[in-house]
């Protein structure tokens, strides 16, 4: 493999946006049959580099070569025609169309009179879906699918054409383990066919499991390329963030206080049934389960976004009816939602205004918003969460995915809630910041907050939680304390196997 020529080579790529030098002379290449990881902190320029390759952005300087030829990717169409498939970090699907139409978007098979050849389309799609081992068919509407399944539709696009290179930009951010292993199978099939794969992820274990080489970017600059086999997590992290990272489990113990939240026999239609649990001050409770287990819906109910069909909610021992998010906020609840673009941010607004949105009524100087106080809040959380943005004036939509997520987290932390619910808090966040956030969650608990963490990442739940609630299909299967939980019994619980049935 070392003698082979790269299929694809980027040379000295420079790309600037107003106020940001996103790429500063980056070079990068992919061999046939290689899985090449691209790593770096949030905002390091990974997605931008790939967008240059995919023809979505034009580089200010630098060149792209395929084999020996210099090529210009004038647009996505050209890139696609040259055999480059791009699986985007943000879902890029038409929700009102069927799975088949989405997978073959832009290249629907044709018959005479410009008609769509539905038979071919359905057959080809179903063949791909079978390979991916998913539970839906070609004619399902994409809008009816869960986020994870929508991600699988994106991934299916990689299999439609004779690709020379496939770019996966954080494909696993919303996938569960089962789907992940399907994805890895797909990748190794492509690899066997001599396709070059570029793989972007913040999850170290995946990187070390499937990639051959790792290229690291920092602040838009090339840091180096290493063979995966010859390195380890620690040195990659150091390359990425320029320092060592403390990855030990947070063993800090503090006093657990009174019950802050108690939920009794809560149900919401078919979404979840008969849910009972409690969260104490100073405690972090993790919620773990497969996608569709109903965890998000519980969080939404507690935040006043859904009306429960039965059951009771107690805050500090007082039964409450939470009628709206505004109501929830006045009761001291914060929710970091699962979908940052749709639910978390107003993309066209600047960073500061997004961050202070829930408390804009409270930050007043006379009748006006106290902008100075807002900037102070923004500055505090920018420093604490290491948010990379040229200024608070930047539109949130221009931030990198991970930095957007940090704005959402900052927004809710700045509310100083007594009950903090975070739903997939570190989706798309780099390792350095992730461990910062984990530390932060522990520190908040130590300060007396009650914290609920919903996550589909087992290491994360294991890492931060004092107790773990395992859910399956709208029901709580079992609640573990941090002493009794193991990876095995947790997996059993979320797969629907009752504790007493287990071996």
């Amino acid at each position: 493999m070392t003698d082979a020529k790269p299929i694809l080579r980027l040379d000295g790529i420079v790309k600037t946006f107003p106020g940001v030098r996103a790429l500063d002379g980056v070079s990068f290449s992919v061999m046939p049959g290689e899985v090449h990881a691209l790593m770096g902190e949030n905002g390091a320029g990974k997605s931008t580099l790939m967008k240059v390759l995919g023809g979505i952005h034009q580089p200010d300087e630098g060149a792209i070569y395929m084999g020996d030829d210099r090529v210009v990717m004038a647009g996505p169409l050209e890139a696609k025609a040259k055999g480059i498939v791009f699986i985007h970090q943000e879902l890029s699907l038409a929700e009102e169309l069927s799975v088949a139409e989405n997978i073959y978007l832009g290249e629907l098979p044709r018959k005479s009179f410009g008609r769509v050849d539905w038979t071919t389309l359905t057959d080809k799609t179903n063949a791909i879906l079978k390979k991916l081992n998913v539970g839906f068919d070609a004619n399902t509407l994409v809008g009816d699918l869960s986020i994870a399944n929508q991600q699988m539709v994106e991934i299916a696009r990689a299999l439609t054409v004779d690709a020379k290179a496939v770019i996966f930009d954080e494909p696993t951010a919303s996938l569960t383990d089962a789907e992940k292993s399907v994805l890895f199978d797909v990748i190794s099939d492509l690899q066997a066919d001599g396709v070059g794969i570029i793989y972007i992820s913040h999850r170290m274990e995946e990187i070390f499991k499937i990639t051959d080489r790792i290229t690291v970017l920092r602040d838009g600059q090339y840091q180096g390329t290493v063979n995966t086999r010859e390195t380890n997590e620690e040195s990659v992290t150091q390359l990425m963030i320029g320092r060592k990272l403390d990855l030990t489990r947070n063993a800090s113990h503090h006093e657990i206080g009174d019950v802050a939240l108690e939920v009794r026999n809560l149900s919401c239609g078919k979404l979840y049934k008969d849910i009972s649990f409690e969260v104490r001050r100073g405690e972090v409770v993790g919620f773990y389960g497969l996608v569709g287990a109903g965890r998000t819906e519980i969080a939404e109910t507690l935040f006043g976004l859904r009306d429960p069909s039965a059951g009771q909610i107690f805050l500090d021992g007082q039964e409450v009816r939470i009628s709206s998010p505004a109501d929830a906020i006045t009761r001291g609840i914060s929710l970091v939602p699962e979908d940052r673009k749709g639910q978390g941010l107003v993309l066209g607004m600047n960073c500061r205004d997004n961050m202070t949105l829930p408390q804009v009524d409270d930050l007043k100087a006379g009748p006006f918003v106290a902008e100075g106080a807002e900037i102070a809040i923004f500055d505090q959380y920018r420093d604490q969460l290491d948010i990379r943005t040229p200024s608070w004036r930047q539109q949130v939509g221009n931030l990198s995915g991970g930095n957007q997520q940090k704005i959402v987290i900052g927004k809710w932390l700045s509310m100083h809630p007594s009950l903090l619910i975070v739903d997939e808090p570190t989706r798309g966040i780099d390792v350095g910041s992730k461990s910062e956030i984990h530390k932060l969650l522990r520190a908040l608990a130590a300060k007396g907050y009650a914290v609920m963490v919903i996550s589909s990442e087992m290491p994360e739940v294991l890492h931060v939680s004092d107790r773990i609630v395992a859910m399956y299909s709208g029901r709580i299967m079992r609640t573990f304390t941090s002493d009794e939980v193991t990876e095995d019994n947790l997996i059993q619980a979320i797969s629907g196997i009752k504790a007493d049935q287990a071996a």
Binding site: T16, P18, G75, P76, L77, F303, L305, S324, P325, A326, A328, I329, L335, P337, G342, Q343, G344, L345, V346, L347, G348, M349, D353, L357, P358, V360, D361, L363, K364, P367, F368, V369, K411
Partner: protein, 324 residues
């Protein structure tokens, strides 16, 4: 640092694209007709734009919140007719608040339908356009409405008076613009309007009461319409049922010309004022040049598109759209 200065120029252009278009346009007309930039003419344009302008201020709120208001023209006819009718019946002191109350009630109805019932604003306000017109016709019996004693009423002050040498309609327009400009850019409510228009779901998730915010945008809009109706009624002391007919699209054109996006979440009061003035000066400038009204149509078309194009081209830093 050539790139930086280019970028700076670019960002100045991006912010002030519409202003520059406005300036270019004024200079061009001034050369074409020496009467154009005289105090009399400027006052005349601003005064006759004031009615449209006051309405556009309110519609700016609605548009930023991500909705439309096509009922303003028909609602303005309603307020004008009502206040004229009541003037002779109960006297101006009571007529004005009564008219405001009725107009605000209509605004509240629309706000309720669009905000709380979440019905599509285009269709709701289109429906209200027709329904309010029917209401006005029923109210007036289809007749023109005139104040009996035109000379002896102080009511004419809103449309015909002047203070400090400035015509009152212009004062009302500018004061209202300043006030609403502050509300929109500086108060929590204004912030919420942007948030709701930018991403309603995210705004809800941030504890903003979206329905209430939208509701108040329509209340503001109808209050502006009532003010416009007051100026209108006072200006001519008599009116037809159709006085505001067709204004909805002109108002919308002014708001959009000012750079507000129909998708919601962007736009400012200041820019709307510029949009209103551009429309007013186009109409007046072409009239002064003695062009046929249909030439004005064509020129207005070209100017609207050029102005908006320049504005967004400056924002993206490229003249042509990147759409493949």
């Amino acid at each position: 640092m050539a790139t930086v200065s280019k970028q700076q120029i670019g960002s100045v252009l991006a912010k002030q694209g519409i202003l520059i278009a406005f300036a270019v346009f004024i200079v061009a007309f001034t050369f074409a007709n020496s009467k154009f930039l005289t105090v009399d003419n400027v006052f005349s344009v601003v005064r006759s734009s004031a009615i449209l302008g006051v309405m556009a201020l309110g519609v700016t709120f609605v548009v930023i919140s991500g909705n439309l208001d096509l009922s303003v023209g028909s609602m303005m006819s309603f307020s004008t007719i009502v206040v004229l009718d009541l003037h002779d019946k109960i006297g101006p002191f009571l007529a004005i608040p009564a008219m405001f109350a009725m107009t605000l009630a209509l605004g509240a109805l629309i706000g309720f339908l669009v905000g709380y019932l979440k019905l599509n604003s285009l269709i709701v306000t289109l429906g209200m356009l027709s329904a309010i017109h029917g209401l006005t016709l029923t109210y007036s019996g289809g007749k023109n409405m005139d104040i009996a004693d035109k000379e002896g009423t102080w009511f004419s002050v809103f449309g015909q008076g002047s203070a400090l040498g400035i015509p009152v309609p212009i004062l009302i327009f500018l004061l209202l613009a300043a006030f609403l400009g502050l509300v929109l850019s500086k108060t929590p409510f204004g912030r919420k309007v942007y948030a709701v228009g930018g991403n309603g779901t995210a705004a809800t998730f941030s504890g903003i009461r979206r329905a209430r915010t939208v509701f108040f945008c329509y209340i503001i809009s109808s209050a502006c319409v009532a003010t416009a109706g007051l100026i209108q009624a006072s200006r001519s002391l008599g009116s037809q049922n159709t006085v505001g007919q067709g204004l909805e699209l002109e108002v919308l054109a002014a708001v959009i010309l000012g750079g507000a996006s129909l998708m919601g979440g962007s736009g400012t009061i200041f820019k709307t004022v510029i949009g209103v003035l551009i429309l007013g000066f186009i109409q007046n400038g072409l009239l002064l040049l003695g062009l046929q009204f249909y030439v004005q149509f064509v020129v207005t078309w070209i100017i609207i598109i050029l102005a908006v194009w320049l504005d967004i081209a400056a924002k993206r830093g490229k003249l042509m759209s990147p759409i493949a």
